[in-house]
Amino acid sequence: MSLEAPEPSTHTDVGVTETGLDYDVLESLLGELVIDRETHHNAEAFVVRPDRVADALSVLREEAGFDHCSCVTAQQYEDRYESIYHLKKYDDPTQEVGVVVPTSIHEPKSQSGSGVYRTADWHEREAYDLVGIEYDDHPDLRRILLPETWQGHPLSQNYDQERQQVVPLTEHANPLEEDHRGGTDTMFINIGPHHPATHGVLHLKTTLNGEQVADVESDIGYLHRCEEQICQQGTYRHQIMPYPDRWDYISAGLLNEWAYARAAEDLADIDVPEYAQIIRTMSAELCRIASHLLALGTFAIDVYGDFSAIFMYAFRDREVVQNILEDLTGQRMMFNYFRLGGVAWDLPEPREKFFEKTRDFLDELPTRLEEYHNLVSGNEVLQLRCVDTGILEPEVAKQYGCTGPVARGSGVDYDLRRDDPYGYYDRLDWDVVTEDGCDNYSRVLVRLREVEESAKIIDQCVNLLEEWPEDDRTIQSNVPRTLKPDPDTEIYRAVEGAKGELGIYIRSDGTDTPARFKIRSPCFSNLQALPEMAEGEYVPDLVAALGSLDIVLGEVDR
């Protein structure tokens, strides 16, 4: 599995004009590869033949500078299958383009894009697994979320839900047997799905050479809960919003809700009152702090051992955030607080008390952070362990579609809050944190420093909310009771979740439920880069690298 040599692209501004992208220029760049054009809500999309996918993607990547394959969506229509590659630029994610690949309903075969974007590997496996499109030239086209023995493709239209998933004994032959009998120089070992360090049900098929990792392969899907399908059955207005809380269930709920809210609001053209945007911004950043603190605590367990004081300290501080969020939303983890067009209710009364509690937390935070810096980033033993281990080069990170603190720890300056502004972020004063170390240490440091930035944002939001005129506190705009976006509209929108770019693709068919609901999970893409970071390292550094990725299996498996 060799990477394409990353060529410095000199044409990143092809078709870039002052008002945005000129898609005609891009179309002429692609030339005869384009057979049609579609207009999605977020960007134009070019339709290409299923046997020319790699060519089209490669032109867009090498010559037009689309270096970020954000997501691959697959779906089935009455008459065809379709894969959509959502491409962006790391420098400016508002420059987007889609590549739509229709394939025959009878023989859904399409060329793989994994040779151009490594991240397409897992995305295409998922498309194969759930929808049933086969990708030619794919290096490893196996099921990824469902068991190897699964019959049928659950998100395809002719899937028979009544069919019993009975598999003969021969199919249950130990899939690891060959590894046991394999070479004598290496040792095969299963790390997980039950292991103190895997942060959930992740299974790492690891080959060890002595104590060093020769090969590691992630086996995911143990926590697959059909989230996409559940959302496809729910109505836009009310029934979908509770579910995002359950993707990244570790205190990042509001950030996930915002991903859905943003996509659906843009799709159905719903305005959000400014007051509600501020509340959203504040509460989302509280969630980010809670999530980053937890990431720090669990990373400490991985490196320090399970009696580490840092874990409990992180929980102590996270508890305060949870209490504030509980006051605001009535819930501690499964918030269900955002609504399309705003939030569920206003700040709790008495408002002064809420502000005071939040301010107390913010005042206390610098002392706490100093303590963490003393214990973690200033600790020489930790530096010995984490500096220069688990290296993820920036070009490799981009190839794998890494985002969030993982990308920023590799010096990739990419943060959707700033680069693709939403909410109230563009009117507040804060900075995007990056570190150039590319190692485990940098990724942890980025999170610690991001907590400070989030605190800055919350502080400004609290000030704004406090001074907000009492007669202008609109928390929701007018949204029709039954929301039916125009038929055949498509949108891909992303927000900066705690772990990175959390994107939602929605296709509407004119009913009150989405025809296709696809979740682009940051953890899914970040986890795919684990072998790049871990191979050649010692087992403890594999564990530390996994901890520094900060994955949540609920979001990886969905």
Binding site: M187, I189, P196, A309, R385, P540
Partner: protein
């Protein structure tokens, strides 16, 4: 003076015959064993919970009995009533023997430790050598456990344990030898006796010539090597739960697990006992009886290991070996050489 003599004089017996000596020694051994087990098996786990909780901002056990003390009984019942699961393909005699060897090796060490007030089971001339010799039998137990479990994590843990013990045993012994240069004897009672002299008197407070004060450099080296020897953070790689599950003890359950766990606890306390004997004047101390001081000192070392566990990251196995062979070993020999020169010139 051995414990048999102490008991004999307490009972008003004159000189002891061989039979009396033997019987009284048995009584003494029972006493020493009970004392060690009281500390390690009864008080240890409860105290560990409380100490760790205090370090990590928690409360720990407080529901069962005052200060949660009755949790000791509840734990004992729970641990002993669990099902003993022995994996298929385990190498039976070795798998069964490993926990016993681990516990026995640590308990044996206490036989030559002077605990004050005449409590010392035996006082051979090679006491210190005996102490290190039996303590290092533990590594054999760990290899047995790791190899016999037929589990890859256990195997890795066992290999790590032996690599670590080999790397740190040498600096440990060499550093202790620098103390022997001062005392000129391996007999533990005489090592303790040599530390009773006054080193210096400051403002009326006389500071005893404990070797921790005489040679603080050796003291620090010894603590580091001792931490590695008992396998505590930052040197707890042989069991490193987040890496190799539980290392050599992954497959042990029920009573066997209790024994493994107990063995580790006794080893920590034995580490403290060696430290107290060689560097902290053994049972010496003002006001309180020697025996109490001895207990305080071994608990202080236990507390120290728990503190390190809460606050320090563990090093990687290759770094651990590197620190051992490239750092501690050299330093311990330098220390030995310098001490030899100083002792040769001054004394």
């Amino acid at each position: 003076m051995s414990i048999a003599d102490t008991l004999g004089s307490a009972l008003g017996l004159g000189s002891l015959g061989p039979l009396e000596d033997f019987l009284l020694s048995l009584v003494g051994a029972a006493f020493v064993g009970t004392f060690v087990l009281l500390n390690t098996a009864v008080a240890g786990p409860w105290a560990k919970r409380k100490i760790t909780a205090a370090f990590t901002d928690r409360v720990a056990v407080n529901r069962v009995g005052p200060f949660g003390l009755l949790i000791i009984i509840a734990d004992a019942v729970r641990m002993l009533s669990k099902e003993l699961i022995i994996p298929d393909g385990a190498d039976r005699p070795a798998f069964d023997l490993a926990p016993l060897v681990l516990v026995a090796s640590a308990l044996l060490g206490f036989a030559v430790v002077p605990m004050g007030n005449g409590i010392q089971l035996a006082d051979p001339e090679v006491g210190l050598a005996f102490l290190f010799a039996v303590a290092s039998i533990a590594s054999i137990a760990l290899v047995m456990a790791g190899y016999a479990s037929n589990n890859k994590y256990s195997m890795l843990g066992g290999l790590r344990a032996v690599a670590q013990n080999v790397a740190y045993e040498i600096p440990l012994v060499v550093t202790a030898m620098s103390v022997v240069l001062f005392t000129g004897t391996l007999q533990t009672s005489q090592i303790v006796g040599a530390q009773a002299e006054t080193l210096i008197t400051i403002a009326g407070v006389s500071i005893p010539s404990w070797y921790a004060f005489v040679n603080p450099f050796a003291f620090v080296l010894f603590i580091v090597a001792n931490m590695a020897e008992v396998g505590r953070n930052p040197f707890d790689v042989p069991e490193a739960p987040t890496e190799i599950v539980a290392g050599y003890q992954t497959e042990y359950s029920s009573v066997y697990f209790v024994l493994m766990y107990l063995g580790e606890f006794i080893h920590i306390f034995l580490g403290g006992a060696i430290l107290a004997t060689v560097f902290l004047g053994g049972p010496a101390g003002p006001v309180l009886p020697g025996f109490v001081w001895f207990t305080i000192k071994i608990w202080a070392f236990f507390l120290f290991t728990q503190w390190a566990r809460s606050a320090l990251p563990r090093v990687r196995i290759d770094q651990l070996i590197e620190i051992g062979w490239k750092g501690l070993l050299e330093l311990s020999f330098v220390n030995l050489l310098l001490t030899a020169i100083i002792v040769g010139v001054i004394v």
